[in-house]
Amino acid sequence: MIGHDRKIWALHLGLVGVLLALHWVLPIYHHTNLARIMVLAVFAMGYNIAFGYTGLLSLGHALLFAAGMYGAGLSTHLFGWSALPALGAGLLVGVVMAAVVGALALRTKGVSFMIVTLMFAQAGYLCVLYFGSITGGDEGIVIAPASRILAGLDLSAETPRYLVAWALFGAGLLGNLALVRAPFGRVMIGMRENEDRSQLLGYDPYRTKLVVTLVSGLYAGVAGAAFALMFGYVGASFATIQYSILPMLWVLLGGAGVVLGPFIGALLMFYLIDISSSYTTANLATIGFALLAVVLFAPRGILGAVRERWLPWLP
């Protein structure tokens, strides 16, 4: 898209600014929620980079999130690392896991790709259970308070936790924006839209998708690591298929292939479950019906529809 640069940056920087301002405004309950949502949105941004922009419909992103989570959690738990190197460890484990899975799974396409990623994630979940003596299995690990201090900021306290989540979100969002607006972002979209054509323009589909998977793994890994350190807990439930489905649902709901989509989707879904659980305990059904509704009635998601109708320049 030509032009619109100022509008685009103003919009995204504006959101980041508003989220910072909310730190001083929000009541404590929503304050904690929003910190959580921002970190989960980083995970979903990673999913969006793979699925929304490049068309890689993975059903196994829980593996990458859990890799980051256990990378950080275990390095504090087993080696007594502090939060900063643990965050780095989580990020690294996420990327390495993405490299391994990507190198194999990207040899398949479409439905096979979905099943292969699903199977790898399932194997990862089972491994967490199998090595229960190290990972804590179903019960998980509680991270020691001493390991939750990131460069002097105590992540178990409200204020530093929100600010770290905000910083991570801001960096993730602006990095995502820069990526998709760079020439490489166009190549990603090209792969999604017409792989055959891209190949004849000299782009290697496998290499492009592998790079995208690594970036996606980086986002998922760092989000998993931050989530573990911020909330002090690592558990097998984060490796279940549900954590592969959730980022997909957030991205689909908010708008796949829109930079702001993952945040909007995560925010809405979080509060949808939050509000509905005061009427019913049927949270599974809320997820199920939301997924069905999006697939049936809003395949482009909220911001996808907005882009189609009103804001064609939305990246």
Binding site: I2, R186, N194, D196, S198, L200, L201, G202, P205
Partner: protein, 241 residues
């Protein structure tokens, strides 16, 4: 004219099941020529250029491009070495803008100013004023031009065009002819074409393909005079060769 050979194919073969789509074909392209590939429907023209650009894998035979063996290279590697291909059935990024379509090709050449280079490439085919239109909404003739613009924007050494004038209006064909003539001798063009007027006017040499084999090769005048070609086209006597 002691032409330099840009592309050399030897013994290229491809069959589908029992059907010999391309049967042991030798083929040379001289640098800087406009070469037309003609033949009746089903002669194997699209399969043959598919073998040259790597979309179709050869079962035997070799292909050399600019002196290097490219037989085993992927389509993307061949594209990076300077072979551009435009599809017979328009294959653009229909949901992206005209600008983004061409930018994807232009950015392969690592220009200093992507935006300016892309607009220049669009200008060449007269689409610059439609840069921000979604390409799927273009008229058919403009989509064909966009397809050609993407091929050209790669700055290839060899441009392979698969039935580029199909569905174009006469005025658009004139634009196209001027465009192609302006490319040589800097680039080499291989053209699959059904419109004989275009072929006779543009081509330096013509190769006739029939039943997956080279029927004959020569200048436009030679081909016009060749009885076997006429037989193949009229279908009167398939046993002519």
């Amino acid at each position: 004219m002691a032409a330099v050979t840009l592309l050399q194919a030897r013994g290229l073969t491809r069959h589908y099941g029992g059907l010999q789509a391309i049967d042991n074909v030798d083929f040379d392209l001289a640098a800087g020529e406009i070469h037309a590939l003609i033949g009746p429907n089903g002669a194997g023209k699209t399969t043959f250029v598919g073998l040259l650009c790597g979309r179709v894998a050869a079962q035997s035979g070799t292909t050399h491009f600019a002196g290097n063996d490219i037989t085993r290279l992927s389509p993307q590697a061949r594209a990076r070495r300077g072979i551009a291909y435009t599809f017979q059935i328009t294959s653009i990024y229909a949901r992206l803008t005209v600008f983004d379509n061409v930018a994807l090709a232009v950015q392969q050449t690592r220009p200093v100013d992507l935006r300016r280079s892309t607009l220049a490439a669009l200008d060449r085919v007269g689409l610059a004023d439609r840069a921000s239109q979604v390409s799927g909404t273009l008229a058919y003739g403009h989509q064909r031009l966009l397809e050609i613009a993407m091929g050209l924007a790669l700055q290839p050494r060899l441009l392979i065009l698969d039935e580029p004038t199909q569905g174009l209006a006469n005025s658009e064909i004139d634009v196209f002819k001027t465009l192609i003539q302006s490319l040589v001798p800097d680039k080499t063009v291989l053209l699959i074409e059904h419109n004989m007027a275009v072929v006779m006017e543009l081509a330096n040499r013509i190769t006739v393909l029939n039943f997956g084999k080279v029927l004959t090769q020569g200048s436009p005048a030679d081909i016009r005079a060749n009885a076997a070609v006429q037989a193949a086209y009229l279908g009167a006597d398939h046993a002519a060769h």
